[in-house]
Amino acid sequence: MPYPLEKIRNFCIIAHIDHGKSTLADRLLQATGTVTDREMQDQLLDDMDLERERGITIKARAVSLRYKHSDGEIYQLNLIDTPGHVDFTYEVQRSLQACEGALLLVDAAQGVEAQTMANFLLAIDQNLEIVPVLNKIDLPAAMPDKVAAEVEESLGLSGESCIRASAKMGIGISDILGAIVDSVPAPKGNADEPLQALIFDAVYDDYRGIIVYFRVINGAIKRGDSIRLLRSQRSYEVTEVGRLTPKMNAEKAGLAAGEVGYFIAAIKNLSDVKVGDTITLDKNRGTPLPGFRELKPMVFAGLYPSGETTFDELREAVEKLQINDASFTFEPESGGALGHGFRCGYLGMLHLEICQERLEREFDLDLVTTAPNVPYQITTRGGEDVMITTPAEVPPEGFDQIREPVVELNVMIPSAFVGPVMQLATERRGEFKHQDYLGPERCVLTYHMPMAEVVYDLFDKLKSATSGYGTMDYDLNGFRESDLVKVDILVHHNPCEALAFICHRSVAERRGRAIVKNLREEIPRHLFEVALQAAIGAKVIARESVKAMRKDVTAKCYGGDVSRKRKLLEKQKKGKKRMKMIGSVEVPQAAFMAVLKANDE
């Protein structure tokens, strides 16, 4: 017997970071007795250490709550967690697609922020019923009336309908649960139609293998079914289907239309399980669900072993990482001074940082990362179109045209900061599109901006230009032609591919100067003066030098000091060996990030 649709509600919580999404999720689990207080671990839905530290939900999960409503009936409330960062917009969309409603959580002290807005718009796109909740009303700084007005004005939701809550203090939780049942529509769908289920997430577990999270739209799925993933065109036999309570709870009868859960099958590669793909039965096939997109990495960086770490260890680690994270890509590359490594692709900078931390922490590797770049499209002299992911691939003979990715950027700021933000956007080659007011004091500026100007550090810059109040969100808008050049960096007259970069001609000189200046700080003094240059082709656009070392003497060394002083010199020698040689110059690992830091100047 399929679970009656009218007793199911599928919802998610959308919020700007730190507005209390995880805290509220915990409360809902507690209030419904889904987990007992004793079992309650903080932030149960974020179960990777790294996520906990960063307070970001990276991987969407789901949990089924059993809730007894005031009408006396028991409802199955499926809470689907959504990632909260611009790097993961597509994954957010797919999570939303699995729901009929969303709790829109707004910090009553902070008000509507860029991610509130961005997620709200995504939710509207999916026709979700929105239940606005003002959180943190316990805070002395909370201004629920003002924020309710803002919600009304900027999002067009009724201010009066905002539930006032404090996830921390447990205020308003029963109102929220009630509103989920009363306001969020029950799922539609038909258990008798051919299976159509949406994959909204998949993870690799060391013990269970690949676990796929899905929402059944139509039809039903149970253990033993032979299923097919329509986009990746692969078939599997389901070995387990169940609900998440939040532990995996196998369900013999399987799941039917409207329900949310997980399945396990003997799936070998996480890359075969694509978020947004449609699950159907091998025999009785349904049609693909809308919205699927192939995720493409938009930030690339070289990753090289360093210190004691070997290339083979790095290869093993990136292979394992990909098992956990299908959006991470890698390809072998050779980086001159850096030896052999990989060109890795990431969804964005946050994704890059997370992957790097995992590699360093989980695999205990010593790594050098080169400055990240976006992909470029090049029309070669021969008229051929190619995609390049590293400056090293710029043809030495030049090209007919080069195109760079451009994003649509929404910046949400208090109106008082429009001036400085417009200036920042202009510096970053932003093309102004429009300005919308979210009430008298806040507005959204929309720009088209080269992705390269956005991904690395625009967020930090925006924060400092707006005293911390600005927030932003972006999405890829296509590739545009641009006057881009490749800048080479020469260390003591040897070009270093790992330091080369592509940028707009107008900023090449400034960036080049900033980089050689940073390099000057990073490269230790040598016994000779080290020349540093930035050049476009044969033309030197900036130069600096690292002065020769002037003093390096151990003053005292007597009978009792010999071993210790020897060890210090051995350490000094080891330190030198850890550096990368560019010609006769020893370059520390940190220097390879000099390109990135140069964006700050």
């Binding site: 003094r525 002037r550 003497v553 060394c557 007597y558 009792g560 020897r566 000094q572 020698k573």
Partner: protein, 378 residues
Amino acid sequence: MTIPPASNARHLYLHIPYCAAKCPYCDFNSIAGREDEFESYVDALLEEVGRLPVGPYETVFIGGGTPTILGPQALERLLAGIRDHIHLAANYEWTCEANPGSSDAERFALLAEHGVNRISLGVQAVQDHHLRFLGRVHDLDQARGALALAKQAVPRVSADLIIGLPGQTRSELAATIAFIGEHELEHASVYHLAIEAGTEFHARYQRGELQVLDQDTSRDLLEQAWSGLAALGLEQYETSNFARPGAECRHNLAYWRQRDYQAAGCGAVSTLAGQRMTREKHPGRYIAAIQAGGDAAWQVEALTQVELIEECWMLGLRLADGVDLAALQALGDASERWHETAVVLARQGLIQYDGSRLALSPEGRAVQDAVTVALMPG
């Protein structure tokens, strides 16, 4: 117990760990405020000396800490006890370190009487504000007085000085050099201030409360000191040691030439036939270990061939004479390994290398560690 390897070491180091006050820059094994321990320490030290081969020793060095902090009786007991057990070679050198804050005619006379023929006095600076910065227990007048007393008592006197002090001016350094000249010292140890791990200066430095000189200023001061000392006829026979020809400290030369040396006392290090032993550093623990009949060994290292080679480079490059290439060859570091590096360094003007002699140039002296690291194996 470690069985000491057979060696007829000709050099002996004895350590007295006590000082009147701990200087904030000092990482020597020294402590202040343990006057109550002096007697039992002298007992333990003499016990250990009594177990050493009798010599003859060409050099003896009593260092610290501040050996002259011992009261006259304890000092006399120590010196007599040493003389009772060991033999001195005909032309021996016996140095004792002293701090101007605990120097007097009586103690110096005792030293001389028992055969000490060289005093090394910790003058450190010749401006009272620098002496205060260095946390010294004495002022310049006391240092002058102590120098005069030392010269009356023994034939050879050396002074320790620290340069490269934060804020030190060229004229202050000139005064420091002039001081050495005025006192007609035949020997001086002139160190650039080092911020040593574990010292109070190091802690202050890490907290950002102590500014150190930049490389360029340090280099200028070093060059000024070196040329000033040369003008006084004091040759830089080692990185931080300057002497009239013939007045070099033979004891310290033994270290730099990788000779074997015996030692006794807490924290003291002996190196015998490639075995290096460091004794218990803490005086109380040392005393207890010796009293219990043990050797107080805290760490015993069997130097590997590579380590011996590294030390040959490190120590040899400190000397004006340079690295003992024959010794290096004998240790197994064939010139094929380093010849090319040496040629490049010579071309850069950092070393003098003519196939038979390899020594730092004055330019190279200032960047000695980097040059050593370049030449060292590993």
